[in-house]
Amino acid sequence: MAAARRANWTANVSEDAAKAESAEAEWIRLARAGDRAAFAQLVRQHESTVLRVAWRLLSDAHDAQDAAQDVFVRLYDHLDRFDVRRPLTPWLYRITVNVCRTHARKRSRRSEAEREAARDSAQHQSNIGAAEASDWLERGLARLSPRERVALVLRDLEGLSAKEAAKAMRCAPVTVRTLAARARLKLKRLYEAEERGLEE
């Protein structure tokens, strides 16, 4: 009985997913034909994923929004080449990771003062996450190496499988597993150190 109910639920979920994918394919087809409303619909559908990942990788709302715009500009440019039979999300993860890497590199060339000013203005102007700027997770992510950070964000926060995360990072799944494990250990040690500091 329970097995039948589970099978029914799985069938419903996969049916919903198939419907969403076919709607997405239709929006891509329309956007290719120049329908901007369809493209806006695609952006609405994926913007929270892209923004969330970008913010976690960059720790800066302003940079995250810039990165999200870059990702969707690339999507717009590559619509013609995109295979509508494939889901869009894995591709978006990969592009987001690449764009964020570029933004992080650019940001490392900016001075600390500029970064601080950009962060302040972004937090005042942006609707996203001003209250969470000093989030413990963000502090922890900032201490990880770039690759460990991407692996942890994709694997543990976004819930991607090692294979999916590996595709986004263009490396082997075993590398993702090791990077994510090291990141988990580092985060744990960091929080323990912080807690010890608070107790003292």
Partner: protein, 170 residues
């Protein structure tokens, strides 16, 4: 197994990144080692906290981002059109300059290649000295035909053309 490698393996176990066989092997160790078991439970607690650390995003930013994307695409397109126009204009001007230079060169070399105009032609006849030196009287039929030398002077004083026709008509 060294501690560092074991810690990484425990972190993999917590994330569900170990194969069933390796997970079972590690679990056997965890059952006997309190230090490693504590690490596992700490990592698991932290894992739950990380997974629950969802951020609240404003749901309606799609239009803002889409508008920004369209603005950038349009700006890029117009700048591309401008660039294309500028590139074509530069190519056109360069082609015109090259063509003009070719025409000028062509005309300037025509004058140099053409033969200078003839200003004066003079014809002189001379009897070969070898014949004249002989004391033997010559009959009319035997009388030598003189060589002909034509001197052509041109408007260019450096160019004077001589044409020598010998007695045999060569």
């Amino acid at each position: 197994m060294k501690c560092e490698r074991r810690d990484v393996a425990i972190a993999k176990l917590v994330g569900g990144d170990l194969s069933r066989w390796r997970a079972a092997t590690l679990q056997r160790h965890l059952d006997t080692c309190p230090r490693c078991d504590t690490l596992r439970s700490d990592l698991a607690k932290r894992q739950i906290a990380v997974r629950n650390a969802e951020r609240s995003f404003e749901a309606n930013r799609g239009d803002v981002i889409a508008d920004a994307v369209f603005a950038r695409v349009d700006a890029r397109r117009s700048s591309k059109t401008g660039q294309r126009f500028r590139r074509r204009a530069v190519a056109g001007v360069l082609t015109a300059i090259v063509l003009l230079a070719a025409v000028v060169l062509q005309f300037s070399t025509v004058g140099e290649d053409a033969p200078p105009q003839v200003s004066k032609v003079s014809v002189t006849e001379s009897i070969p000295s070898a014949v004249l030196d002989d004391d033997k009287p010559l009959s009319l039929a035997e009388s030598p035909r003189p060589d002909v030398i034509i001197r052509i002077e041109t408007q260019n004083p450096d160019i004077v053309i001589y044409w020598h026709g010998d007695s045999a008509g060569g």
